[in-house]
Amino acid sequence: MLRKNPRCRLGWLLFFGMFFSASSFVWAAETQSPWKFDLSLQGQGKGMALPVALYVDHEKERYYVVDSTGNKLVSFGADGKYLQEFTAEGNLKKPYDMVRLADGSLLVVEKGRNSLTRVDLKNKKTTHTVVKHQGQEVFVDRLEIAGGKVYVLDRSSGRILQLDETLQPVKSYAMPAGAGWLADFKVAEKKVWVLDQKKKQVYSYDENGRPSPAIQLTGIDFPVSLAIDPAGLLYVLDRHRGAIVAFGRNGEVKYQFLSKGQGRDNLYFPQEIRFDHLGRLCVVDEGNSRIMVFKR
């Protein structure tokens, strides 16, 4: 029929052309990242040595960067302008993460002391606490604050602990049997989201500690951090590939962006991702000594 009727042939050609154009449009929409570089946070003078964590103060609209090798905390304004550095008079020992408490004091993870250190800025007072859980020392790694509650990741036991005001554990989230080890966690949507680096899985627990089915991640080499997008996606940072991969809530890869290197669209041994108060995605780009902020 196609050979005999030129009109019919033309019709079929048009149909196939439209079909393939539409498919490629849908494919492009699914695979292209909407994220564009917005700004970069860098220190002054010698800058930051090796930034390892970012805390976004939603209330004050400020960024606090934890520079572990520089033994300092560096603050930036909402526009990304450098504000000041804080070293607790040279007393911070390998800081690794931080949050700001409701009373305005800072809570800092000091790896060098294995301490959760409360810094009372008004009274210039520093209190070191080695957290213990069930009689054993907790090796505090990542730190989060949500709804006034403080959560920590314990590297020794592989648990997420919720702490009270005196920094004593009041709740423990144990990982499922056969879990690997934990790289990061976030508290979002009234859930605790945990990234298992070995198994490349994401676990989530509701406020009562009830787990949801694990999300299996694919197409990722060395996951180190995760961020939960209220819009429905799950972002995972791949430290070795210098890339961010966006997953659906069932673990399907939606798109990925950035690559390893030193340029604007590159990351070099990045360490953490999180959303800021404007819904921008921030990346702690440790190897490039900067924080990269991307907007949609």
Binding site: K94, G158, G178, G180
Partner: protein, 390 residues
């Protein structure tokens, strides 16, 4: 009518086969000695004279006038293998697409077209295994590696056919009640934490170096009811290691078990550090992506004995858990570098990061597509990162 079609088809098939054999006989074997293409076991296409299935007689992109490269060519016929060999733990030559590392493409004296007998084929790479041992595991002594291991891919670490304990107990059913395990408080587990499955100088294949409490039969010092759990179970004795782990980048990790025993055996090992397996393989069990990148990279640092030559194993303040800064680590071997090449050191600042220039600013020892394992091409791209007006 139907019969006639079937007869014609069969006739056509035989004629085609005869023609292709005849083609190989008449054309290829005129120059290539036929003896080199026959053996106890012959590859199907060779036996059928279908040289053209793999080779292009006139011109090709790949050496040996091959139609495709490496495993891609093999998978064009062995289609199921391509899917199967991508799952789970994959043997490195398979992952690298080097089928010919073990298999001969034309003919061989061994089943599966293996180049040598099974054990000899394995020992080509696993050379340390070939050393004679005072006590050897029987299947190993008989060269029957595939009794325990899968050659291509497996669901389990070390390419084991089953989970390690289940595999041991599938033959050693009597082990639970044996004299050596008397007093074991529960069902036998963790066989490999005491026994070397290949060979040892000790009776019962017990590994060479024993953890002190284990050697002194002081099981309670770790397993007592009031003892610590998680990494603390080890660190309350190994306080020095605990200090090194108090660093931003460290290998303290635990999920549902003690993180230390991911690398170390709590009872016995083959070296003084009582590692679970030989040095780099311990690292590879987690850092598979780095090992794959290294293996597949066109340009990379020459192979070094141990990852720990450059990297700390417990904890480090530095990127990539390096032992020292990116200059000191390299200059221990590269004595003259930095003195006559591009300036490096704390007085030379990388304007992109504000940090000092080091060897790893420009080189990626774990592998790169560029010469001298540079991170970017040296023709222009790398230099213009900083020298913009160049």
């Amino acid at each position: 009518m139907r019969r006639l079609v079937i007869i014609l088809l069969i006739f056509g098939l035989f004629t085609g086969l005869a023609c292709s054999v005849a083609l190989a006989n008449e054309v290829c074997y005129k120059c290539h000695d036929k003896k080199n293409f026959s053996g106890k076991f012959t590859h199907g296409p060779v036996a059928q004279g279908k040289c053209g299935d793999c080779h292009n007689p006139h011109v090709a992109k790949y050496p040996g006038l091959l139609q495709g490269e490496g495993a891609t060519l093999c998978y064009s016929c062995h289609k199921r293998s391509k899917t199967e060999f991508a799952k789970g733990v994959v043997h490195q030559p398979v992952r690298d697409g080097k089928c010919l590392g073990c298999h001969a493409p034309h003919a061989a004296g061994h089943d599966g077209l293996l180049r040598k007998n099974l054990a000899e084929t394995c020992f080509v790479c696993h050379q340390e295994m070939a050393k004679p041992q005072a006590v050897s595991h029987k299947p190993f002594a008989q060269g029957q590696c595939t009794v325990c291991h899968q050659p291509h891919q497996a669901k389990n670490d070390q390419l084991l056919k089953m989970e390690a304990d289940a595999l041991c107990l599938s033959c050693h059913q009597q082990a639970q009640g044996s004299a050596g395990h008397r007093g074991f408080p529960r069902k036998l587990t963790g066989c490999l934490s005491c026994h070397n499955p290949h060979g040892s100088s000790r009776k019962g294949l017990v590994r060479q170096h024993l953890h002190q409490p284990f050697a002194e039969k002081k099981c309670d010092s770790c397993h007592g009811a009031q003892q610590n759990t998680g990494s603390e179970a080890c660190l309350h004795c190994h306080a020095g290691i605990k200090t090194t782990m108090m660093a931003p980048h460290n290998h303290m990790f635990a999920g549902t078990e003690n993180g230390c025993i991911l690398c170390h055996s709590p009872h016995a090992g083959d070296d003084k550090k009582i590692l679970k397996t030989s040095g780099n393989k311990v690292c590879q069990s987690c850092h598979q992506d780095t090992f794959s990148r290294y293996a597949q990279s066109q340009h990379r640092h020459p192979k070094i004995d141990s990852c720990s030559d450059c990297h700390e194993v417990h904890g480090s303040d530095r990127l990539a858990m390096l032992r020292d800064d990116g200059n000191q680590v390299c200059s221990r071997c590269h004595l003259t570098q930095g003195k006559f090449s591009h300036p490096v050191g704390d007085k030379v600042i990388d304007q992109r990061t504000g940090q000092m220039m080091t060897c790893v600013t420009c080189h990626d020892p774990m592998g790169s597509p560029h010469r001298y394992h540079l991170v970017l091409s040296a023709k222009r791209e790398l230099c213009t990162q900083c020298h913009r007006s160049y």
